[in-house]
Symmetry: C2
Subunit: 496 residues, 2 copies
């Protein structure tokens, strides 16, 4: 067996065990009895320990050296697989074991404390936790930086969106940051002059919502022989590529958020289902990072579903499902309901137009935190300033400001930019799909979505992690991330 | 850390990973999408490999030697835990790795072939598979015999019912074998003279059956914050002690078999839920073998549920659930429906009175097979002879004879006796419970089952695997297995 082959065997088992954890994670959220947390915690901890020991085993360094020396014997895909194996291994081994376990403990405690502190708007007592997590993540970023030849913050981004650097993000986000405040004002002025859209008259029985969701998932190409739909408090797309476990929740007073939620998660699911089958359980067979993953969910939710073409197809289905009719159910009214813009404090409640401002704000602050030019104690002031600059509003409490998200309490620095990079990637892919697929709009109006998803499968899903994130976007659209396309999308949706 | 403590750490992780497998096994049977078998297979195989490597690691031999040398420092429970660790380890390591994997492959192929051959009554082509499996299991039994100081067949029994030997079983089964043929004839003569009981008039909606099942499970003490009820083709009690996953199936034309099935599985579940919490994830905290496990399910199903006291309580609940009435729903009619006796070829369809004859037959044949005095090729004839002797009928086909059960095709020699040992243990425990719990019959008629299950928890469940199987029965009832109690039970139920 060559060193490369030996590595593939180790990673195959590593991924199979991670897959077991993923299935148990789904069970946690959907099936686990109320007081069965303890045995489940032990199962997941044992799996995590075994996986960690496997990937940090001393023999791997030697195997990577040998495999890289014989690199010329590998195919393109094998080379990419070796690169991705090594990247994963570096992230796991660059940080000393003591620091890893200190971070894990600190983040766990910080997150637990944050859950209460946020409710009580208690920044003062939470600050020491946040400062400690920041200190440890800085140390970790330094260690990854030294091992991987990236800047500390870029080494953190690389965990979530390989190949993307803050130098690239700066250019794109600065462009957007210049555009957004004026754009948001213009949209609000325009919408203030219009008659408000009519709310959909509920209630919306959960069973009907579910049936409609299942119908749409099938229409989009979700393979129910390799996946399921269940319910959980926080919807997610879980499981493994050959066994996708999608979840949603049904609010009988709010149909649209559930409907768009299912369409969002189905975008994630189709990406996982479309990954290259021959590379299952190998790093190169995985989805290409979180920005691309978010691009697939947002393409389904914000590019496909939130379009007049789609709503012209779907509105009659909705009326039929709920046995109702009336002007509120006209496609244009639904479209206008989902495109209302209003700056607000909370990111997860933000609309499409103001969401990127929330992300740019966080990106700028966390980059400065990791670089050392912003301390945790100065977060409330810095957060308020950036929010005023980008959104024109000033947070009223710390809970509505720097304490609102789980990411920083939990140490997940480097993740935030992927949300907006994903939204931009979705717009760019849809733009390319429109010019590449003849009659796409007509197909969508007819409820024929296979043209779109086949195109995505061929140009994105089947590429797995063969290319870096920027390379994959160039492969699929002919160009790297282009802010102009996203700005055009926003302008044509909100100002035309 | 002492050697004993180090062993507990290894076993804690081993049990947690086995627990993960158990949860995925439940998911297989209840939730798995049709074509998601491949990723699941990889997850389970990776878990099995990791567990096997963990338990056969060379350092364990040394740790056992050290721990046994320092045995005087251990408490009773710790000593028993060490004994059970070593027993499990011996079963895993006594057989050479090559033979283990040969057996696994041969049994897998044999079982696959058997699934078709049984349908086609094709003994001739299946025989080579059965002969090969027998040859390999004999080798395995020899290896276990040498390592554990037991006879080859006793070493196989020890996998399922530790502490029980064929010398003990011979005495008990010979006694029963003398008793059964005349007893069965007498019961049939008696029943031939009676008016047949009335069938329950269906259909029985699945949703009503489920609601009634949930009600009964709660009444018996099933803790739904640490377990659930779902559906599967083959009902079972799965999961882990802190997270019990019970399954059932609903036949809308047959209420009683589903009802008794839920009561059976709930008996298993209460045993698992009652195991000593402080010994979770250690061998001594496990259930005491398959005979005791079957005793708990049969105590619930055949001693509690199939009693006039219980049916007097439950019949009104049944009538109320199905919104029905009439003579068929009288407790005595239901009792008579479930106690009809008729010898037949198929074990899994056998009634309480003829079931032990099926087991004694298999026990006698498999003991001879392992000892070397019966070959696979001679099975059909030997099976037919024993069936004629014990049940007074001669099988018409090989499918209705030695090919009917999965156990031998799958290499599970040594398992069969546990069914009847379990039934006898159930009768003996119930006999003791009746004399130990004042007013038990009155409690049962009032739907108060906590007296019975608290007694079982204290005398059986909470003992885990501290004692061997015969010791535990003596601890709970004051005597070892006594065939007279079981014969009395049968006589009083069927002939009084």
């Amino acid at each position: 067996m060559t060193a490369y082959e030996e590595l593939t065997h180790i990673f195959r088992r590593y991924y199979a065990l991670n897959g077991a954890s993923a299935m148990l994670g789904w069970d946690n959220a959907t099936m686990l009895p109320e007081n069965a947390g303890e045995p489940r915690g032990e199962q997941l901890a044992a799996l995590a320990d075994v996986c960690h020991e496997m990937i940090t085993h001393p023999k791997l360094g030697e195997l990577f050296a040998k495999a890289e020396a014989d690199k010329n014997d590998l195919t393109d895909w094998q080379s990419a697989n070796l690169r991705e194996m090594k990247r994963g291994w570096q992230h796991q081994t660059a940080v000393p074991a003591d620091l890893v376990s200190e971070i894990s403990k600190a983040c766990h405690e910080s997150e637990l404390f944050w859950r209460h502190a946020r409710k009580e708007n208690n920044w003062k007592d939470f600050l020491p936790h946040q400062a400690n997590v920041l200190r440890l993540i800085r140390e970790s970023a330094q260690a990854k930086s030294a091992a991987m030849g990236l800047s500390p913050y870029d080494a953190l981004i690389d965990q979530y969106d390989p190949g993307t650097t803050s130098a690239m993000v700066d250019v794109i986000f600065d462009d957007l940051a210049t555009f957004l405040p004026g754009f948001i004002r213009a949209v609000m002025e325009k919408q203030a002059d219009e008659t408000p859209p009519a709310e959909l008259p509920g209630p919306f029985p959960a069973a009907v919502q579910k049936q409609l969701g299942l119908t749409m998932m099938k229409k989009l190409g979700f393979d129910f022989t390799r996946g399921r739909l269940d319910e959980s408090t926080h919807p997610f797309c879980g499981g493994v590529p050959g066994d996708i476990r999608l979840t949603t929740r049904y609010n009988e007073n709010d149909f649209l958020s559930g409907f768009f939620g299912i369409m969002h998660e189905t975008g994630h699911a189709l990406y996982e289902m479309g990954l290259p089958e021959r590379w299952r359980n190998q790093p190169v067979g995985e989805a290409r990072g979180m920005a691309f993953h978010e691009s697939q969910s947002l393409l389904s939710e914000m590019q496909l579903t939130l379009s007049m073409d789609f709503l012209e197809y779907a509105a009659p289905l909705m009326r039929n499902a709920f046995q109702t009719s009336g002007p509120a159910w006209e496609p244009e009214n639904i479209y206008r309901l989902v495109t209302r813009v209003q700056p607000s404090f909370i990111r997860v409640d933000a609309d499409e137009a103001t969401y990127p401002a929330h992300i740019i704000l966080r990106y700028r602050l966390e980059k400065r935190m990791i670089e050392g030019s912003l301390e945790a104690k100065d977060l409330p002031e810095a957060f308020a300033n950036e929010m005023q600059n980008l959104l024109g509003i000033t947070p009223d409490t710390d809970t509505n400001s720097c304490m609102q998200d789980i990411h920083w309490p939990d140490g997940a620095f480097g993740y935030f930019p992927t949300y907006t990079l994903g939204a931009m990637t979705a717009a760019q892919l849809m733009d390319k799909a429109r010019s590449s697929i003849p009659g796409l709009a007509t197909h969508i109006r007819a409820g024929e979505f296979t043209y779109l998803f086949d195109w995505l499968r061929k140009n994105v899903h089947e590429m797995g992690s063969k290319l870096t994130s920027p390379e994959l976007l160039k492969h699929a659209t002919g160009q790297t991330l282009n802010a102009a396309i996203y700005k055009n999308h926003l302008q044509s949706r909100y100002l035309s």
